[in-house]
């Protein structure tokens, strides 16, 4: 959706860019930050770390039952074995969707999110409406994402109130028995790992 809902996303005042520029200049001048380090931090989270990491974890769990068991028992270790670890992923729990149970992750108090596997959270995840409604009206939230669940599906909402981060293991789509982990990873959207959507259907992914 576009950004023209001006009542929802108030535009920053025009001076915010100047305010940031001044702060950056000041902190560099005072020796409190290093300019080159800023560029590495930005590049890391803009280009290196993102939901493709989590998709690899999910695809491996779908194709390797021993790994799936490990992931559900000790997610941080299982995820770390694929090379994804560190800041905002020190403590991770993976919660598994099943035919009768759908999981949804939120942080009502701020924006806690498993960075090493998903990167930085999207705007909507950090927004007041999502944080307000995910715990009280998860079915309404899912409808807004176009996700329809059978009425008898249980929804488990996970509010990330401490330093435990949550990742949803979506259900593996049907008709993918002969798919490799690499191909399956394409079906694993970021939103499926937050729980606002399900994994993509094979047909849709192939058409892309």
């Amino acid at each position: 959706m576009s950004h023209d809902h001006s009542d929802e996303h108030t535009e920053p005042p025009p001076d915010v860019e100047l305010r940031v520029k001044a702060l950056e200049t000041l902190l560099v001048e005072k020796g409190l930050v290093d300019l080159a380090a800023l560029d590495v931090l930005i590049d890391t989270y803009e280009n290196q770390v993102g939901p493709r990491n989590g998709a690899q974890v999910v695809a491996k769990a779908w194709t390797d039952s021993a790994y799936r068991t490990w992931l559900l028992e000790d997610a941080a270790a299982a995820i770390s074995s694929l090379g994804f670890a560190g800041r905002q992923g020190e403590h991770i729990t993976v919660v598994e969707n099943t035919p009768g149970v759908h999981n949804l992750v939120v942080c009502t108090l701020c924006s806690c999110y498993p960075w090493p596997v998903l990167g930085l959270p999207p705007i909507w995840y950090k927004s007041a409406p999502y944080r307000a409604r995910a715990v009280a009206d998860p079915r309404g939230v899912l409808t807004e994402f176009g996700t329809e669940l059978p009425d008898d599906t249980q929804i488990h909402v996970w509010d990330s109130t401490a330093e435990m981060r949550y990742l949803v293991l979506p259900e593996r789509p049907a008709d993918t028995d002969d798919w490799s982990a690499e191909d399956l990873a394409v079906l694993v959207s970021r939103n499926a790992m937050i729980g606002t959507e399900k994994a993509r259907l094979p047909k849709k992914a192939r058409q892309k």
Binding site: M1, V20, L26, S111
Partner: protein
């Protein structure tokens, strides 16, 4: 504190309007990139911890917190922490020009070469404590109806409500004291609430909400 950040269950905030996953950039403006990186880089000096950082954002006037975009709240929080830790002066912040040369007693800033290892290392909040956990898995508990003025991670919507202890995460750093600079461990539990316990007749009997809550937030039901 009963601040504007404690949003679970609030009404009137409107639809979510998610951007399409394929179209949404990580940052929506260059200044957002800079605020993100400045916050992480300045935080590497160790002058404040994660909970102090969160509390600096939460302490804004509620109208400002809700009006600001996400990274504006980060920017405000960062400025607050820099001022309170005497790392910059109000005059410097206003002018963008340093009044004094770098403090030779300051540790050197995070260097580009050290970013990857610092991020990879992360910061575990796992603690070792002497006493054993007070509540057992499967036990019914109530969240203490308490309204502390400082930082806390017990959301308002859980207070006074009963739930089931479903898991014990071990002892983690207790945010309420960490926000005051005291790193102490408290047992952390995953507590399950039924939707109807939290939201009454507006809840759905099939749904549950799991919340990670520290032992001092809980009492026997």
């Amino acid at each position: 504190m009963n601040g504007p950040h404690d949003l679970g269950g609030q009404h009137g905030l409107g639809p979510i309007y998610p951007e399409s996953e394929h179209e949404e950039p990580v940052f929506h403006a260059n200044w957002e990139r800079r605020v993100f990186a400045l916050t992480l880089a300045a935080g590497a000096a160790g002058k404040w911890n994660l909970d102090q950082s969160r509390h600096a954002r939460e302490r804004q006037h509620p109208v400002a917190y809700l009006r600001h975009s996400y990274y504006e709240n980060w920017l405000t929080g960062l400025e607050t922490l820099l001022l309170e830790n005497n790392m910059v002066t109000p005059n410097e912040l206003a002018s963008g020009i340093a009044d004094s040369p770098p403090d030779p007693n300051h540790s050197p800033p995070l260097r580009a070469d050290d970013v990857a290892s610092a991020l990879q290392r992360g910061k575990s909040v796992q603690m070792t404590i002497e006493r054993s956990a007070r509540f057992f898995i499967g036990e019914r508990i109530r969240v203490v109806n308490n309204h502390p003025r400082g930082h806390t991670r017990a959301p308002r919507y859980t207070r006074g409500r009963t739930g089931l202890i479903r898991a014990h995460h071990g002892a983690h750093v207790f945010p309420d004291q960490n926000a005051n600079g005291a790193r102490v461990g408290e047992p952390l539990y995953s507590v399950e609430f039924t939707s109807c316990e939290l939201w009454g007749t507006s809840g759905n009997p099939l749904d549950t909400i799991r919340v990670d809550l520290f032992e001092p937030y809980l009492e026997h039901a």
